[in-house]
Symmetry: C2
Subunit: 346 residues, 2 copies
């Protein structure tokens, strides 16, 4: 491994500087990505290992990130469970048949990820080969709760009425769905690691729509189940729950190596609470990259200063990079982290 | 005043039971409201004191809430500053000309609320008269930050690019806009109190899109300015910042009487942090009202138990009541609070 800063920081081992990558770093803000997407729709891109590998590696080469994340989508997993998925420009993804009743839940299959999602594993193998150990490769999945939310709503939602109606009026069925999703997710992430992913991230995009007690019962409990069933083979697991600052300690207690934090969390407080036993990943406001390089550097310095000296920090945004971010600003962000962080590791 | 439980709880004075009302209680879930809206568009309803008074009082009579909130919209205030507002079914509100540049900001007028928003004051006077002191009347406004967000975006937003670009690239202009909005809001709320509002609530719907430091700089600071300029005349002020659990103590420090909390906050923790010097309002998940009366009662009991004995709690939802909530469930919610809370006040 030529650059293993990311993996060392995940394990809270000493590093020469803070590693940095960006959520959604393989994406629309890159002209090179848009050039490929102009010829290929989103799902075909996910399903074509050569293209998925190419766009995964783009930010490593163009932006200089310290980690590569496999290009894919969290919804390819529920699709492999038998729910037809559509991803169209401008409307966002949707499922033809939402999953809301016990019959819907029972119909979902638990796929063999090495068969039904072979294209993801092929993309991981090819990306590892083409990366040639320049930086580590991250695999990922949605949390069971987040997948359940998409399945129940069927499409983007404002009030999340369907999934909330399910948990409040029919918690038993909700638990049956979440259990099935947890098993599937554990098998999927284990297969990703087997195929070559050197770390995995679980995205709990919708944990934050729940009150704290329900967050623990319906989301965190199943993230824990995934981590327990995971054949991790030494690969660190990152858990990123958006808008769940109320439960930082509980998230750290799932047994993950790294807690991803969004921009609503003060990283100084987070380190105080859980930094002695987990690494932290985050958390610059993605919208700060609209500003010029000087302002970006100031924001980077503030977060580095708040985290303070020592290892256990992976720099990232608090959420995915916004599609209309100027590429030059993304480069300035990565550069600023690389230049400003060394002094915290002496 | 026949029922002043709400006002006493705002001041943390003893009460016989916990008072209860619902955010958006005058709204679409009520058939009586929909009957009026079938004949009148939303803005006309806001601008017609007789109708606004009628729908404001509906939930007091039909649901039995312990407070009445004047029917209006937070966007009528920026409209009075000279930005044409459209509210259409299904698309949500939008402004024809978003406010993004210094020139846009300088063009905004600071209206005299007793003239440009006389219809709101008339509605308040008429509602007070028709309420005949059955329950107290609450006036409200958006926070300066929330209004600035709507003004800059012009319409609903996913990433809030425009307002964030403004604060990160041009903080001076952002502060000029926020200062103007704070002055206008203070004058508006003072006029509402003068017209008869017995309490006021400031809704900071979009404070939660900011990192904690920026929340204090761009949102909380201007809520503080509003409260400082307010001629409150004894009327308690409630501050409700959505998704801002990271800054509970700072919110309490604005000098408000009541902190409104959303469902992401554990009310037991909130009371521990700030309950000795402010009252708390909240915080049942609105989606729990999809469930039946027994489950609703169980949720109410859990929150009452978490808050514990003593005054200083106004029961509410953690966010507005959802339009597709069955009326019977809303009644069951209010009934459950009334029946279950008495034992916490002995």
């Amino acid at each position: 491994m030529i650059n293993d800063l990311f993996l060392r920081a995940c394990k809270r081992e000493p590093v020469e500087r803070t590693p940095v990558w960006l959520m959604r770093q393989a994406g629309r803000y890159l002209p090179e990505y848009r050039a490929i997407r102009a010829k290929t729709d989103f799902l075909t891109l996910c399903r074509t290992p050569e293209l998925a590998a190419e766009v995964s590696i783009q930010p490593v080469e163009i932006i200089g990130t310290d980690a590569c994340i496999i290009f894919s989508d969290i919804l390819v997993l529920p699709e492999a469970m038998g729910v037809k998925l559509f991803i169209e420009e401008n409307t966002g993804p949707y499922f033809e048949n939402p999953v809301r009743t016990r019959a819907d839940i029972d119909k979902l299959i638990v796929p063999d990820p090495c068969r039904e999602l072979k294209y993801v594993m092929d993309a991981i193998r090819l990306t590892r080969k083409n990366l040639n150990n320049r930086v580590p490769l991250i695999g990922f999945a949605g949390s069971p709760w987040t997948l359940a939310t998409y399945l129940a709503e069927g499409k983007g939602s404002r009030n999340f009425s369907s999934i909330k109606e399910l948990i409040y009026t029919n918690p038993k069925d909700a638990h049956a769905l979440l259990d099935k999703l947890a098993r599937t997710t554990a098998a999927f992430l284990s297969a990703e690691i087997e195929a070559g992913a050197q770390a995995v991230q679980i995205f709990d995009t919708w944990g934050g729509i729940l009150p704290p007690d329900e967050f623990r019962e319906f989301s965190l409990r199943y993230i824990e189940q995934v981590l327990k069933l995971l054949k991790h083979n030494g690969a660190p697991a990152i858990v990123f729950c958006k808008n769940c600052g109320h439960s930082l300690e509980a998230i750290a207690d799932t047994g993950c190596s790294v807690v991803g934090i969004d921009s609503s969390i003060d990283i100084e407080k987070a380190r105080m609470l859980i930094g002695s036993y987990t690494a932290l990943q985050g958390n610059l406001d993605p919208a700060l990259l609209y500003a010029g390089p000087d302002r970006i550097r100031e924001g980077v310095k503030r977060i580095l200063g708040k985290f303070g000296k020592g290892s256990g920090h992976i720099f990232n945004l608090g959420h995915g990079v916004l599609p209309d971010t100027p590429v030059g600003h993304v480069k300035a962000f990565v550069q600023a982290v690389k230049e400003e962080s060394a002094k915290y590791h002496k």
